[in-house]
Amino acid sequence: MPLKWTLFASTPAFSAKLAREKRHLTPVRKCHKANRMGTVVGLIDYGMGNLRSVQNALEKLGASVFIAREGGDLAKADRLVLPGVGAFGDAMANLHARGWVEPMAHFALSEQKPFIGICLGMQLLAERGTEYGEHRGLGWLPGAVLKLDRPGARIPHMGWNDVRAVNKSGLLRDLGDGASCYFVHSYAFVPSDPAIVSGLTDYAGKDFVSVVERGNLVGAQFHPEKSQKHGLAILQRFLEL
């Protein structure tokens, strides 16, 4: 494939061209055409998180996916996914123990390549977490992770809930009036910079931040790989970043 086609495929102009010409196709079918250029996604394995579901979803969208087992693997990736299920403190301990912190920071902050944190992965982007005590996060985005405060409502917040786009030209631009995505969490990231708030979700009458975005850095509190077509559409947008 000529180099100029690889570059063109990653621009908004290409997506717009696809949208104009193939408007009737569902998001998933559009994806296969866009990803013929073959983006390579690395999934960070730090012992926590269901890698298989994310891999299935990304492969369905036409991306080439590999499981990154150590820092050196990151050179093979165009973009990275940090999944996560479990407790904040354990996750940070695992990331440090397996030597992930420096290589990921180099990839996402120095090289500024696309990076998405999913569920606990999004929370780890924060400065600190408060689950089972105070823990330092990666600190890439300002703010803290706090327990969902919803007296009378069930915790964890589990099930399908609507994500409303605050940033209408970012990752959530296909959502229209909002779309149901699958959540399962007891804590949420409270960013101290409103500019990075990309999506909001109402649980028990009060909003929490469900998507954050700052350039190449993205976080989704829900599981896009488990949110059917809207989830896949959001992952597709990440693949186009």
Partner: protein, 262 residues
């Protein structure tokens, strides 16, 4: 706002999908992998697979199936998870954290434990610690006796435990269960509707989501289950014998004012 979930449940016996009645009659209704694709096309909220096999003898070597044969449960789970872009719960004969780990490695998002949880309740805590509470579903099967008293049964409804459902559910939650799948053995396969008294009693005492199962025959039964306090409604047989049951079930709930995802 958080939507109410409608969850199809698929029962696996020796590698084939079956429907059941009061936990004893088991009629074959299909191929587990093919059905997962169908449910994914239907855009359902979640899928629960319960492996109710007794002796682990799996055989899918019939040639009338168009789908590839898989010889054992984890193989089936792995194939199923490839078509599941919604949460997938796997249950049946899970007795240890290693069993749970196998399920997650093969694509499950949550594991459902029943007899294993009752016989060794430490399993709930160990599972919650290793994988997070939200990934541990405790299944509670209940029979109602002639005098109205309800009792938890394990081992596919064969063994009485002497426990009141509310009591066992309370203990399971304390030990770390993230969700309760509450099943009425008497109502199973009868299409008479959920055991609403049971749902009311358990949900009033539960701090985690409760999914009701057992007895759905008409879509209105879903509405009754939610009004009795269930956080989500599940059903098995109705999905095998009716077209578009997922869509129609949800439309019935919407008419009754319940918020679901379309």
């Amino acid at each position: 706002m958080l939507r109410t979930r409608l969850i199809p449940v698929l029962l696996l016996q020796n590698g084939l999908l079956v429907r059941s009645e009061s936990f004893s009659v088991h009629q074959v209704v299909g191929n587990p992998i093919h059905e997962a694709k169908r449910f994914n096309e239907w855009n359902v909220d979640e899928l629960v697979y319960l492996d109710i096999s007794r002796d682990g003898a799996y055989d899918l070597r019939r040639d009338d199936h168009k789908v590839k044969s898989v010889a054992e449960p984890m193989g089936i789970l792995e194939e199923v998870s490839k078509s599941c872009f919604m949460p997938l719960t796997w249950g049946g004969r899970i007795r240890s954290v290693d069993d749970m780990r196998e399920c997650f490695l093969h694509g499950a998002d949550k594991v459902a434990i029943n007899s294993g949880a009752f016989r060794t309740p430490e399993l709930i805590t160990a599972g919650a610690k290793a994988f997070g509470n939200q990934a541990i579903v405790v299944c509670v099967d209940v029979r109602q006796h002639a005098d109205g008293r309800r009792e938890v049964f394990i081992d596919g409804g064969r063994e009485a435990t002497g426990f009141d459902p509310v009591k066992w559910v309370g203990e399971a939650i304390e030990r770390g269960a993230g969700e309760i799948l509450l099943q009425s053995i008497d109502r199973d396969g009868t299409a008479r509707g959920y055991d609403l008294e049971l749902i009311k009693a358990v949900t009033a005492a539960s701090s985690v989501p409760v999914v009701a199962l057992g007895g759905v025959g008409r879509y209105e039964h879903y509405v009754e289950g939610i009004k009795a306090g269930a956080d989500a409604v599940a059903a098995a047989n109705i999905f095998h014998f009716k077209e578009l049951s997922d869509r129609q079930g949800k439309r019935t709930m919407i008419k009754a004012g319940i918020s679901v995802r379309l």
